[in-house]
């Protein structure tokens, strides 16, 4: 033998040895009984390669050429995995009763093959049609039901054929003098009809006392401890697992537009939802009615809190005299706004001056007058502008009503001629006192002939009169009232008060002093020259 041949033979031997070492499984699988019923073997594996059969104990509980172990299970008995493994093959489609010589499923009938980690595999033959509960590739655990028994394929009656294959060759799972020294069963039972135990193989999974922890949930953790049986105990409950995964974001649609999001915090709890405002429909240019009065009625469609809303285009503001309801209270130019708008309203009047007697004796009467300037855009037509007591608006009769001079009980005076914008007009009317003493008052307001009030800036005059028992000497007669003029001094325009407030003239009351002087002189003369 040459050196080359010697080396070649040496390497060949080493490779063969390595192949044997690595091919030998470190742990041979151990089986439990592949069903729960307490039933033993009726036909065992034939360990005699020649004619005639020889079971594992060199007896005859077998038949010639039998490649597995038969358990006489009745039809429909649950068949379970004898050890944990992976489903290698299934076959379903044979009738439940095949009979001898039936070739369906390669004579095995409906079957399942489980491959085990040590390279062995086991066939479960003659199963019931449509009873297979596993699929190829599935991991099954020891004791897990895989199918039910029957007599499909080459079978003379219901039974389970359990066929062990080691390295591709059929093998008797029982240990005995005519098979092998080590049993493939966890506990194989006693001859001649052994009943293997139902105990699954126990494999040491950990060292006693060893602990293991892992994350669970979102932010939680759990642990388990290895028991004295080399098996892991159960996992503890997950603590602090949180309600969400940190950093995750969740979104949802809002009412009918836009969306909102929320983020999971680092503590695995949800933060608050973001605002739901979204982009406005049609760029915010879609017109709508808010349902409010005045300038607040005009709106635009917005997306507010995820819902389509009609939002004011204009906010309420202080009223100006312009025929517009700017404070959105439903009344145009109310509360007598003093500022004239641009453009001014159609009808507007400003009180320039007014005068009336502040005291009238019972059942007395006096003349009152008031001058207004047309500050609107329209010309006041004669007879179309009235001065009316506002008490009648409320349905009452004015305390100043004079049936002799007023055109009507609710009209104190009317315009006598046209008044163009910027011009003035003076209304004169009679106010009559009633038959009782006391203070009476009323407000006289300009209106159009259609009954609509002028509202600004000061189209009214308030009249406050004290009704006395008799007319005092110092009270001016109606003839002494100042004539209306275009003067505006003394009138309180800002408040709309039409009372004249200028001081009383000294010469007007000079006779009072003279009268007092005369009375004093007469009394002195009487004392000096008493009557006899």
């Amino acid at each position: 033998m040459s050196l080359f041949e010697t080396k070649k033979a040496l390497w060949t031997g080493l490779l063969a040895l390595a192949a044997v070492v690595f091919a030998t499984p470190g742990h041979a699988v151990k089986f439990r009984r592949p069903f729960d019923a307490n039933i033993g073997v009726n036909y065992g594996f034939d360990n005699n390669p020649g004619g005639g059969c020889r079971d594992y104990a060199c007896g005859g509980v077998c038949y010639d050429g039998h490649s597995g172990t038969d358990f006489p299970l009745s039809l429909g008995t649950a068949v379970v995995a004898a050890a944990s493994g992976r489903i290698g093959a299934t076959y379903n489609g044979c009738a439940n009763y095949g009979g001898l010589g039936n070739t369906c499923g390669g004579r095995c009938g409906n079957y399942v093959r489980i491959d085990y980690n040590d390279g062995t595999s086991a066939l479960y033959c003659h199963l019931q049609l449509n009873s297979i509960m596993v699929s190829v590739g599935q991991q099954v655990s020891c004791g897990q039901q895989i199918a039910r028994s029957a007599s499909s394929g080459n079978s003379s009656g219901p039974h389970l054929h359990f066929g062990l294959r080691v390295g591709g060759a059929n093998r008797d799972p029982f240990a005995g003098s005519c098979s092998q020294s080590t049993s493939y069963w966890v506990a194989q039972g006693s001859y001649p009809h052994p009943v293997p135990s139902t105990q699954c193989e126990s494999v040491c999974a950990c060292s006693p006392g060893q602990t293991q922890s892992e994350a669970c949930g979102n932010c939680g953790s759990r642990s388990r401890t290895c028991g004295s049986n080399c098996q892991w105990g159960g996992w503890s409950s997950c603590t602090g697992q949180g309600e969400c995964k940190a950093g995750s974001v969740e979104s949802r649609d809002c009412c009918d537009c836009g969306s909102q999001t929320r983020r999971c915090s680092s503590q695995c709890s949800w933060e608050a939802w973001s605002a739901c405002d979204g982009p406005d429909p049609n760029g915010g240019q879609e017109a709508c009615e808010t349902g409010e009065p005045g300038i607040c009625a005009e709106g635009r469609v917005r997306c507010l809190q995820g819902c389509r809303s009609c939002v004011r285009l204009h906010e309420p503001r202080q009223e100006t005299c312009d025929d517009v309801d700017e404070d959105c209270d439903g009344v145009i130019d109310n509360d007598y706004p003093q500022q004239i708008g641009e453009p001014p309203p159609q009808m507007a009047a400003r009180l320039l001056d007014a005068s009336y007697s502040q005291a009238i004796e019972i059942n007395g009467q006096t003349q009152a007058w008031a001058t207004f300037r047309n500050e609107g855009r329209a010309t006041w037509k004669a007879w179309d502008v009235w001065l009316v007591p506002t008490s009648t608006i409320d349905g009452n009769v004015s305390p100043f009503f004079d049936s002799h001079t007023w055109p009507a009980f609710d009209v104190a005076a009317t315009l006598q001629e046209d008044v163009a914008p910027g011009e003035t007009a003076t209304f004169t009317w009679t106010i009559r006192a009633g038959d009782s003493r006391g203070k009476i008052q009323d407000t006289f307001q300009l209106t159009s002939s259609d009954g609509s009030l002028m509202r600004c800036p000061s189209p009214h005059v308030q009249v406050d009169v004290l009704v006395t028992q008799t007319r005092r000497a110092w009270e001016p007669s109606p003839s002494t009232l100042p004539a209306p003029s275009d003067e505006t001094s003394g009138s309180d325009e800002s408040s709309g008060c039409a009372c004249r407030t200028e001081p009383m003239p000294k010469e007007r009351y000079g006779w009072v002093g003279l009268l007092l002087f005369l009375i004093v002189r007469i009394r002195q003369r009487t004392r000096q020259h008493p009557k006899p």
Partner: protein, 335 residues
Amino acid sequence: MGWIVGTEPRARRAPIDSIPGIFSYPYCMMAFRKPWHVVALAATVYFATSVTGCTQDGPVAQSESEAASPMRLPTSLPGWEPSSVLEVAPDGRAIIGKELAVPPRSTARQVYEAAFIDEKGNSIPIPIGSRIQDARFAFPPSSLVALLDDRDRLFVWNSKTGDVTPIDESVFPGFGFAHASESIIYAKGQTPELAAFRVDLPGGSPLQLTKGDTPVWGFAFSPDDKQVVFVDAPDGFPTLVVMDSQGGKSHRLTNRRIGPDDVRAGAELAPFPDGRRPPLWIGTTVFLENSAGVFAIDRFGSVRVRYDKGRDLHLDVSATRALFRDGARVRQVLP
């Protein structure tokens, strides 16, 4: 496995409807007491099921269900009771078998003590021994005969030269010859995981055609020998598949609509063969037998004809018709 056919000779010479009571005529149930009777039987079958056979000319051919042959099936051969004609060749050769008791727990469906009858009516011993479980004649003019003995060994015997060629061991029943060539396809392996093999004769080596991880069996060549149909379970349930006869990827012929994970549905579909007889392939139709009956399946996998409870599907001796046994009668499958 075996089926037996026989008929009364006058039935071929006279119109069927001219023979009163032909189907109940006890005379046609005559027994064959000598081997030459088997030759007569084979020849009768050949003529009775040829192009001018009764199944097409007789009044019973008016409908599919009535497309029956006038033949009657004897239930036994005297001296060899129970006996069967395992295979008949167009030239009158036949293999007859006497049914033997099947050994307890045997994997064989039936075992026969067999004898070969040559075209002259001479009985010749089977050279591989007398116990066989399956036999198949090659298509004419070949004189090859495939024999499967009771120990699952496959042989090919040349009935003219007497040469016996061992082909393989651990062979599964249900092998098939090619039409034009002397090739044979069979299944072997460790059940239930079998592989298809092809051997070209003479002297060819086995060529493995499938991976060997599924139960395959029952091979039939297409008429042009370019394809082969057989039973396989590519997705865990039995189905007919078609494959190139030189090997390659197979595709389903039946059960095409069933998904690979739907292992339950496959079993709910008939047909699925149970090994009674291998499929036949004539023209564009595959004929199949299972426990439910006999089926004719078109090239799309659809069942065209179904004969409930039909059994013993076989070719006629002209290899152009599929016959089956319906009770005591032989009938033709009309696809």
